[in-house]
């Protein structure tokens, strides 16, 4: 039972960044902008959030007094920096009508370079790792609850962070926003048929800026969530999670609930990959050198296979990727 609760707990931990970032991608693409830059947005969000945590840890005693307040500040910094960085993409693809794929790729190349430069500037030449303080985790002591059952204790508190709570809240907000509000209706119209939206007086440019901005907020928080999940340091990388989130978004058919399912699914495979050594019934391939890498490949291979299988059914927003030009009708 212990291994099950370990796996479930880790699955949730890794599903959180996928969910957040894929939802971010969904908002951007539903408004009509292909957001390849999610990877870069995650890096930038994680970078500034980790720098904030480091500064709080070194310069204040917030870690002892109010650790979760410190975490909240870091989350806000992640959201803000991710959103700011995403505005570059919005500016290029909405205002300048640049090719969205190229714009996104450029941001992806820029983000790790920026991260290393800033990290070195703060920590000194060659100090690439930003160490995340240990007080970020929510423990039993933080909440004052002690589940009796070891299973639940393990499942809930083994790796519980504030980002998980925010992911659940933001997911619900996203689902309601997209389908139940005026804003969501208008945003979806802009991604499907911007001329139609324009003809009823909706400002397509503004809606697309909004879509990309929201993806920046969610992507930035997702970057922080990934970094906490992946280890105790930030190393100017999110290991392709931004692209995996894109796959999750496509597999989730640009719909919030499907994206939730898809991100849990992918996270599960990722965790099975990393826990492969301790799961008794999995074959070991001992005659192969370094066979553990086989299992680490699993989530990515599953991604490819599933995308091949589901790509026929998936329906992307019709006008995504096409810059909207008011003059051309």
């Amino acid at each position: 039972m212990r291994i099950v609760s370990d796996i479930l707990s880790a699955t949730i931990l890794f599903a959180v960044p996928l969910l957040l970032v894929a939802l971010g991608g969904m908002f951007s693409e539903r408004s009509g902008i292909i957001n390849i830059a999610l990877e870069g947005i995650m890096i930038v969000g994680a970078l500034f959030a980790c720098l904030t945590l480091r500064a709080l840890d070194l310069n204040t005693s917030i870690g002892q007094n109010a650790p979760q307040l410190g975490m909240l500040i870091a989350i806000l910094v992640a959201a803000f920096s991710g959103a700011l960085f995403s505005l570059l993409l919005a500016f290029a693809s909405v205002s300048l009508k640049a090719d969205q794929t190229i714009g996104g790729t450029a941001l992806n190349m820029m983000a790790p370079a920026l991260a290393i430069a800033v990290t070195w500037a703060v920590q000194g030449q060659g100090q690439t790792n930003i160490i995340i303080p240990t007080w970020t985790r929510i423990t039993q002591e933080t909440l004052g609850i002690v589940p009796k059952d070891v299973f639940w204790q393990n499942l809930v508190f083994k790796s519980f962070y504030q980002t998980t709570i925010w992911a659940i809240l933001l997911f619900l907000v996203a689902a309601v926003l997209l389908y139940k509000t005026r804003f969501g209706l208008r945003m979806r119209a802009c991604g499907e048929h911007p001329q139609a939206a324009d003809s009823v007086g909706i400002n397509v440019y503004r809606m697309r800026y909004a879509g990309v901005f929201i993806s920046g907020i969610l992507g930035g928080i997702g970057g922080l969530a990934y970094t906490i999940a992946a280890g105790s340091t930030f190393q100017s990388s999110v290991a392709g999670y931004g692209f995996l989130a894109l796959a999750v978004m496509i597999f989730g058919n640009w719909k919030p609930w499907n994206i939730l399912g898809a991100s849990l699914f992918f996270a599960l495979f990722k965790i099975i990959g990393s826990y492969s050594g301790s799961i008794p019934f999995l074959p070991k391939f001992e005659n192969l050198n370094q066979s553990e890498y086989l299992y680490l490949m699993v989530p990515y291979i599953v991604t490819m296979i599933l995308l091949i299988l589901t790509s026929k059914k998936s329906r992307a927003p019709k006008s995504e990727g096409i810059p909207y030009d008011k003059g051309r009708r």
Partner: protein, 535 residues
Amino acid sequence: MGEYVIEMLNITKDFPGIRANDDITLRLRRGEIHALLGENGAGKSTLMSVLFGLYQPEGGVIKKDGDVVHIKDPNDANALHIGMVHQHFKLVEIFTVLENIILGVEPNKMGFLQKKEAHRRVVELSERYGLKIDPDALIEDISVGMQQRVEILKMLYRDNEILIFDEPTAVLTPQEIDELMGIMRSFAAEGKSILFITHKLNEIMAVADRCTVLRKGKCVGTVDVKDTDKVKLSRMMVGRDVDFIVEKDDAKPGKTVLEIKNLTVPSKAHKNNAVKNVSFNVRAGEIVCLAGIEGNGQTEFVYALTGLEKPSAGRITLKGEPIVQIGHKRGLQSSASLDKTKPILMPIRHRSKLGMSHIPEDRQKYGLVLDYSLEENLVLQRYWEPEFQNKGFIRKDQVREYADRLIRQYDIRSGQGPVTPARSMSGGNQQKAIVAREIDKNPELLVAVQPTRGLDVGAIEYIHHQLIAARDNGKAVLLVSLELDEVINVSDRILVMYEGEIVGAFDPKDITVQELGLYMAGAKRQSNESEAYSA
């Protein structure tokens, strides 16, 4: 309140290199149906876009109820109760009817949609005006006619008093057109004012009170419809007399050129077959017209015939040579030996060499390479012939000479002659270029799919003459058309296609437009199917 609800005075609108509207004045009376007539590119849509706030004019003023107004965007137009049904519907396909209607003016509480109230109002409006719709259906699932009703309801939902219809009848069946005319009249009777863009004279005579005619961006004049007739209107529009009835002798059909047997083509859009077991012949020296409403399998039929798509069963022979032969257990019982033979699917170039010409439905997608020059487009199917190439190099001088000849002979007008990019040519001249290329190949079979779609009367007249000239030269012509006048006037034999089947075969002399419309809409079908392809 003055006589005029809208006055557009001395409107001038420039686009790079062209003056689309030159000092145009149009006055719309309260409660009238006012037609706006003109050829393609005469500036009708531009003028209406100015009124709807999509374009800003360089000169002139717009008055509403006598007061000068500035319409900067569709929101301003909406505030002045001006609504527009665009030629290409502005509907979001994955939204429901209701969502499309409320988009932009959503009833909401703190940003949350309040659909119930909107639902009630939409149902009420649709009942009051007899515009039957299902508010919860998705746009992608409903017919074009129904989509137009949604567009009309969009205007009514916004309480618009000035309704602009941009070529509303182009996509409708004759019955739907009659219905729309009735609806327009009831709006006018209620005091709403209607601007109606069209280049179809029949509709103007049927429904409009007054008509303003534009030609090449200039206003030719405004006339009372009751004081004029089709001949006068067309002279105003084109600037010369136009023949409406195509003069032609009786057909003298020769031997069979095209033979289609049990052709079945799968559909990309749904699970059923788009073309179901269709058989007929086309002979030399006759024009056979395949009539039907859009989306009843004609497109797929033509794709299978011309090689753009693979049929699932059937046999097509051109001049006795099989170009398609695909066995099917049930479909080809008559020729049991076929089961053993290898399926034949002749490549497009071979079909073309064998004598098939194709004027495609979508001239910009399949007819031309838009970013090539006119001369390159004219040799698109022949560049590999020894006349135009030498060891793989294009003989530019020969191409130029050939293009010059076609341009002269077929009167293709363009800015820079043979080197004009096809993209920059007008729709009518793009079509002329395709017609020239396809007819000059001297084909045995000419497949013309909606060759006059979107063209004005002058260009239509020209295309019709070319089709009849090809027939008189002993060519077999297969015309696919939705335009009833064209079907009746040009063809020698009519086959009606409905839901992938031939539901009737007629001599154009024996059938009326109304009756043909019933067959096209699926309301009637000939019981004896063998009649359909016996001729």
